[in-house]
Each structure stands twice: as C-alpha cells, then as structure tokens.
C-alpha cells in the first residue's frame, strides 16, 4: 500500500508540474505581452512593470523565467486581474469554496439517491420498476445540462416561484464571503438574521444542486445496477443462498460491499464529468464559482484569471481522482493485490 501510495502521489506531483509547464508555455503563446499575461501588470503601469520584470526574471533565459514563474505560483502570487487589478489567488479562493459547495452537495445527492435506486433496479431486474428507473435515467442522461437548467428555471423559478433565478443568497442579507461556501459563511457570520439567511440560501441552492446532480445521478444508477447484477451472479452468493442466509442479509452483507467497489472506482470519473458541467450550471445560475469566473475571463481576455481558474480546476480534478484511487486501493485489498500482481 505504501509503495502504491507513493507511486500515485509522485504521479500527481509530476502531472501538476507538467500543468505548470503548460501554463508557462500558454503565457508565451497568448497574444500580447508575456509578462502582462503572467502578472496582470501592464507596460503603462511604469515602475510596477519594471519591478515585475525583475521578479519574473524577464530578460533572462526561459529556464530562469520558468523557475521564477513556478516560485510565484507556489507562493500563491498568481498575478492580478487585467480587469479589476485585484489579486487572482485571493479572488479564486472564495470562488473555489462556492464551486466545492455545489459539487459536494450534488455528488452527495447523487450517491444517496443513485446507489439505492440502482440496487433496487437490479433486484427488480426486468420488472416494471426496473424499466421505469432505467428509462427515466437514460432519458435524463440524454438531456444536456444547459437545456435542463433553463427548463428547470422556467418551471421552478418563473412559473412556480419555488426558487429564485440566480445567485447564492439575497444580497440584502449582508453576509461577508469568507470561505465562499454560502452556508458556512452564514454560520460564521454574526448577522442577527442568520436563520432567515440560511433559509434563503437553501432556497437558492436546491435547484442548481438538483440540475447538477442529474448527470452523475443517472450514471450512478446505471453503474450500480450493472455492478449489482454482476455480484448477484457470483458463486459466493449462490453459496450464501444455499447456506440459507436471508435475502436481506445477503444484500447488506455481501452484495452491497462488493458492488460498492465498482462504484467507488467510477467516482473519480464522475467527478471530472461534474466539473465540466459545473461551468455551464454556474454560468446559468450566476453562481459565483470558478466556472462562471472562467467563462467571463475568457470573454474578457483576462489571461491571469483564466489560467488561475484553469489551474485550480485541473488541480482539483487531479486531486480528487488520486484521492479516490488511494481510497479504493486502501479499502479493497483485492484491488491492491491485483496491482502488485500477487494473489
């Protein structure tokens, strides 16, 4: 396990490092002044620009330029926005909080609903409910997220008025964003209207979470169903049945843990899919996360913000994938053994 962990972590570090190299190259390839793209400081800023030239070792070789760029990145000095002149890193952190809040809730929701539904469908294989669940999940999976989001907005926000159209919270609740996650921020604040604000925040949250979870939810239902069906055909289950174990005991003790192994392995991939959807969902719901800021920075050609957002998202996806793999290997020894080719 230790060898495996070290290998995964090394691979993570190397991938992250390659990402920084890619960013450095992109800074050079983007139109305009390379230093401006990197630091957000324009030539017209005079003294600041000269200082930045020094800091980023601009006149020197590419290698030392890269080294300086790398050091800045490590120190959390990601330059400043070309539009607002604010520090990129300081602005991205609360956005990351907002994005994570949506992601974690959507992922949790799809796990909590998707896994039981998939198992239920497998047990009822070819029964009417199985067909309904599979049919609904297939059609939901075929609906593009941006269209589903617009429809949901029209129905739930405009027609029914059950949810507001956009944002995290009614801005009149003056809650200072600290972590970016609106629920944590409300709990941290000393506003006398915390209760009302929390209620308002939840009303803002449920619709984007629901729409965002639609893709991983439907995927998880299908994965769980297939995994469960696989397990149900294993010999050890036949053995368990022949020993007279009750069906419920078989499900809980034997089927579920074994099916979970396949599901956990898929979680990393599902997370990556979720991250590409979140960019669309955040833009539609005006959610102040990394995704919507990334889209805006692309429109505004705000290179420091663009690359900062890109790096954060990419690093997040990598981290989650490695974490899932490590958990998977730790939790299921047979996987580990397969990895080391020992039995």
């Amino acid at each position: 396990m230790i060898r495996y962990s070290i290998r995964r972590l090394l691979l993570l570090l190397i991938t992250l490092w390659l990402l920084t190299v890619l960013m450095f190259v992109l800074h050079h390839l983007f139109p305009g002044d390379t230093l401006t793209n990197m630091s957000g400081i324009r030539q017209s800023d005079g003294v600041a620009y000269q200082q930045a030239q020094q800091h980023y070792a601009m006149p020197q070789s590419w290698l030392s330029q890269y080294w300086q760029f790398f050091l800045h990145l490590l120190h959390g000095d990601w330059g400043q926005s070309l539009v607002t002149q604010r520090g990129v890193f300081a602005d991205i952190m609360p956005q990351l909080g907002a994005t994570l809040e949506l992601t974690i809730m959507a992922m949790t929701l799809s796990l909590v609903i998707g896994v039981p539904m998939g198992m239920y469908a497998a047990v009822q294989q070819r029964g009417p409910l199985d067909r309904v669940i599979m049919g609904v999940s297939l059609s939901a999976y075929s609906i593009p997220a941006f269209w589903l989001a617009q429809l949901a907005l029209l129905l739930f926000a405009v027609k029914l008025g059950w949810a507001p159209i956009s944002g995290q919270l009614n801005p009149l609740f003056n809650i200072t964003p600290v972590t970016g996650s609106v629920i944590i921020d409300i709990l941290l604040s000393d506003s006398p209207y915390r209760g009302a604000a929390l209620k308002d925040a939840l009303q803002h949250l449920w619709l984007p979470v629901l729409v965002l979870s639609s893709i991983p939810l439907t995927m998880l239902i299908r994965i769980t169903r297939n995994a469960t069906l696989d397990v149900l055909q294993q010999n050890y289950l036949r053995a368990a049945r022949s020993r007279g174990l009750s069906e419920s005991r078989i499900m809980v003790k034997h089927v579920m843990p074994n099916a979970m192994q396949v599901i956990v392995r898929q979680l990393g991939l599902q997370f990556s899919l979720l991250m590409s959807n979140i960019i669309i969902i955040e833009t539609i719901f005006n959610w102040p996360g990394i995704g919507s800021s990334l889209i805006k920075s692309i429109y505004e050609r705000d290179y420091p913000v663009m690359l900062g957002g890109l790096f954060t998202l990419a690093a997040l996806i990598l981290l989650v994938n490695v974490a899932v793999e490590l958990y998977h290997a730790w939790r299921y020894p047979q996987v580990r053994k397969e990895l080391y080719a020992e039995r």
């Binding site: 008025g161 507001p164 159209i165 009614n170 801005p171 209207y193 209620k199 308002d200």
Partner: protein
C-alpha cells in the same frame, strides 16, 4: 426568498396545485421573511453591467454613471429638469462676475463626507475639496492627474478643459472659476454627472499611503449612499450615508446586482429578485404592463438616433446627394418597426426636451420622387453603390441598428441606390469609424447636459471631426461660427432663435439624417416608488422608498 416572493405576488393556481401536491407551497407561503428587516430596508437594482470604476470623472459609459454619480457624489449645482433651472447643491449660491468670465460659488457648510472603515473624514467639505476635484483633471502636473488612466473624456469633449483657466480659493467656503471666455453652457456642464466633488483629505491620505489608485476604487464622496463593497460580475453594495446633508435616503442598503442578460433581468423582476431594472426588452413591455406587480416607466431621454454620411468621401461630399438620401427614407415606418412606436420621429437634431426646441419640422420629408430628381441634378441618374454601417449593440436611442439598416436598404433601392450593410464588433466598429472607413453609419448621441450646444458641438463641429464623435467628418467653418455665436449669447430667447438657425443650416447641408428621439425605459415592482430617472444624467435612488404593505397576515389562509 420563496416566502418573500409568495406574499408579494400572491399565489397562482399553479403554485397551489403543485404546492399542496408536494406539501411544500403552503408551508413556504407564510409571510415570515417579508418581515425580515434587511429585506424591507434594502433595494435591489439589477444593473446591466460592471462599472469601469467609481469615479464618473474618468468615464462616459452610462453604466458607470448610473452606478456612481447620483449615489456616491454631489455636484456644486443640480439641474431641475422639470423647472428647467439650476438648483443649489454643494454650492448654496453663485454669481457671475467680470461679464460672465468669472463665476463665484459660495459653498454649503457642514457637508460631511462618508465615514468608512478605510477613511474617517477630519473635516467637513470646504474649498480645498472643490479645488482638488477640478484641478485633478485641469492640471497635467496634479499628483492625481495620471492616476487610473488620466483620461477625462467628458471634460475634453465638452471643452471645459480649455474653458476653465483657473480655479481659485477665495476663502474656506468661496471658490472662483476663471473662464477664458463667456460661455453660457458653463453652469450646465457643472451640473452634469461628471463634475462631482471628491475629498481632498482622502486624496492626501492615499498619497501618503502610496495608494492613489484607490481614490477611484474605494470612493469617498458626499452623496446619499456610501460604498461598501464591489464584487465584479456579482454586486455593488452601498449603505445609507447617515450624515447626508439633505434628507437621508429611505433605504439602509442599496445593492446593484449585475445582470447582463436582458432576459434574465426581466425574469428576476417577475420573481421579485430585482426591485428595479433598467432597459427592459421593448418587445415584452406590453406583457409587463399588464402584470399588477410591475410598473414600467419611461423617461424622455435626450438622445438622437441618426444616419450620418461620411462627407469626406464622394459622392457624400455633395449636399444634393445627402439631401436625396434623406428624402428617400421612410422614417415613419422605422419608428413603427424598430421602436414599436416607443419613440418620436425626430423633427430636427434637438429633441423635444430641449428648451431651444420648436415645433417646426427641420428634417427632409419622405419623398422618393424628389429624391430621384435630386440625384439626377447631382449627376447620379443611375444611382450608385454604398455601404451602411450598423451598430452591433443595443443602445437607448437605437434598439436594433441592423434591422433599421435593412429598412433603409429597401428604401434606397427604390431610388436606385444599392446599399450593403456592414457591421463589426463594437470596439472595432468605433475604431474604424474613427479612421473614417465608412460611407454612412447608423449611430446616435445622448446628451450629457441640458444645453442645446451639447447636441451640435460633439457631433458636428470641426473639433469633433478632428478627434471626437463627429462621424460625418463634416467640417464647416460657417457652422462652427454659428455655434460660437449661440454660445456667446446669454439671453435664452435669442439663443433659442440662433439654434433654430443652426438647425436650418444643418438641414440644408444635411450631413446627417435625424431619425428618432427615443424613450428610456425602466421597470420596477409596484411597492417601490421614487426611483428617479432624470432626462439628463443618471438614475437616482435618493428618494426611493418601499411602500410597506398593510398587514398581510389577515389575508393568509
């Protein structure tokens, strides 16, 4: 927000059916959150974009002005559009001296600046603040002149930069403006949203802290609201200025929620997430008007949409050709098709709101026959090929320039002129216009102040052709001469006559074809009142208030 909305809107049948079905709606429609104080004491304005900064001196974009001028700052004097006269603001009174070449302003006492976490004012407003605010853009060697770009477009294009020779401090509460010549538009220019008064004290403090750029980012003014925070693409938060020298505003909080999509603005107004929105979609106006919850108000906006001919290029250098083209266009059809009737067909360059306006129609009437004759006289019996440049964006004066260009194209075909429609991305469009690459262009102008001069000089004078908004590249010394004469005249009636002469001259020469004066729209929920949309200048929330509903609990089931 849900219950908030329910109690404001009342429930629809949809809500009832689905609500009771899921057991959600009924519980959610308690009036509980309506009574939450911050929601009662705040107003949400869904603005159409991010401001460029928080100092109107540096910009001309309507979005920036709407976000800052009337909220954060005050001017020496204000213009009362209803009474058509200047009213005292930070200056209690003023007088013209030296035959109009010097103006003396007596400042109001005990006017407090905003007190914020980043600045505590050490004194009330005095002459130093006025000097600081004006010298910043007047003097190239002022420590703040080059800060944040150093461009002061309004002061350059209105000519104030050359008009004001010096600003002098007489005593703590008296300031003199020395002018290079008599100019009857001077007071009008001082009353615009651009001539705001900043705090010299704050400027000094920032210089010490070596952060001068903060002056325009974390603003300090004397206005009814003070700045709290700006989160780009999300919101601007203001709070009530408790020590405001006039009556303090009703709302404790004023939040601009930045909503760039016109559709989303409309929907958010419907759901109650916005209390007030600017520029609602004209097509949907009818639908909004029916809704009991929403009121649409319109203000006459001092603007003009026009079709300008690039007189530097043949055949548009001939007045006969320009007249012919003007006669060829059916403007009545444009008003119906493009503005849905929400505009007035222009009867000259000056709009109806100007005090120099008269009913006399100073435009070329629709007459294709006459147009053909004129073309013959000019030697173009066979017609010619030309290009119409259409703006790619919506503006208050022109909601759809592309469509308008198509209508004009069809009209021109009737007289044998073959037109092609051209458009570029907006910034590129303006750059190319500056270089004079166009034959003709559909564009417009929104006045900055009430002075009629502001409708001619910025778009038709020689100075504006050299480097400004004169898209016709028309430079006629006689015309400039007429403008100067009108400015030197101080008796209003005589001035009005002079401007009519100017209109007639422009009619004969026809460098542009005036199309329409349109209205500026805004929509708000019915429980909000007092949002002011003055014809000249920015939206103001100083008098805005929420009409509190009579106790609604009795109505709840």
């Amino acid at each position: 927000m849900l219950a908030h909305r329910c109690s404001r809107n009342g429930r629809t049948a949809w809500q009832l059916v689905f609500g009771s079905f899921l057991g959600l709606g009924l519980a959610a429609c308690q009036p509980a959150t309506t009574t939450v104080a911050p929601l009662q004491q705040g107003l949400v304005y869904c603005s159409e974009g991010n401001p460029e900064g928080f100092n109107p001196q540096l910009g001309t974009s309507g979005t920036t002005i709407d976000a800052t001028s009337a909220q954060l700052y005050d001017r020496l004097l204000d213009y009362d559009a209803e009474q058509q006269q200047f009213v005292p603001a930070l200056a209690e009174r003023w007088q013209a001296l030296d035959d109009g070449q010097r103006y003396r302003f007596h400042l109001r006492r005990n006017v407090q600046f905003h007190s914020t976490p980043w600045f505590t004012p050490s004194r009330a407003l005095n002459a130093d603040d006025v000097l600081f605010s004006f010298q910043r853009w007047l003097q190239p060697n002022h420590p703040y002149h080059a800060v944040n770009g150093g461009n002061y477009p309004f002061f350059t294009s209105s000519g104030l930069m050359n008009l004001i020779v010096a600003v002098e401090r007489i005593d703590d509460y008296t300031v003199d403006f020395q002018l290079s010549r008599r100019d009857s538009s001077f007071l009008a220019n001082l009353a615009t949203d651009f001539a705001v008064i900043l705090s010299a004290d704050y400027g000094q403090q920032l210089l010490h802290a070596k952060q001068p750029q903060q002056l325009d980012r974390q603003p300090i003014g004397t206005g009814p609201f003070q700045f709290v925070e700006f989160r780009k693409d999300l919101l601007i938060r203001y709070q009530r200025h408790a020590d405001y020298w006039r009556e303090a505003p009703f709302f404790e909080q004023l939040v601009y929620v930045i909503t760039t999509s016109a559709n989303k603005r409309m929907l958010k107004l419907l759901t109650g997430e916005c209390d007030v929105i600017p520029y609602p979609l004209v097509d949907e106006l009818q639908q909004l008007d029916i809704d009991d919850d929403i009121q649409v108000s319109s203000a006459v906006n001092p603007n003009i949409a026009y079709w300008g001919f690039n007189t530097a290029r043949p055949p548009f250098d001939q007045p006969l050709v320009r007249q012919a083209l003007s006669h060829a266009v059916n403007r009545q059809a444009i008003i119906q098709a493009i503005y849905n009737g929400n505009a007035r067909q222009a009867s000259g360059i000056l709009p109806e709101t100007s005090w120099a306006f008269t009913e006399l129609d100073q435009t070329h009437a629709y007459n294709p026959q006459l147009a053909k004759q004129l073309l013959q006289q000019a030697g173009y019996e066979q017609g010619f090929n030309m290009r119409i440049w259409a703006m790619p964006v919506q503006r208050a004066y022109n909601p759809n320039a592309q469509r308008m260009a198509e209508l004009i194209q069809a009209d021109l075909a009737q007289i044998g002129v073959r037109a092609e429609i051209v458009s570029y991305e907006w910034n590129e469009f303006r750059r190319r216009l500056d270089r004079g690459e166009h034959d003709s262009v559909l564009i417009g102008w929104v006045a900055d102040n009430a002075d009629p001069d502001n409708f001619f000089r910025p778009i038709l004078s020689c100075a504006a052709a050299a480097g400004g908004n004169n898209r016709t590249n028309w430079c006629d010394p006689n015309f400039d001469q007429l403008l100067e004469q009108a400015l030197a005249e101080t008796v209003a009636d005589n001035r009005a006559q002079l401007y009519q002469a100017i209109e007639t001259y422009a009619l004969q020469q026809a460098p542009l074809m005036p199309i329409a004066n349109s209205l500026r729209f805004q929509a708000h929920r019915t429980d909000i009142s007092g949002v002011e949309l003055p014809p000249y200048g920015a939206i103001s929330f100083r008098h805005a208030r929420r009409i509190l509903p009579v106790d609604e609990r009795g109505e709840q089931p």
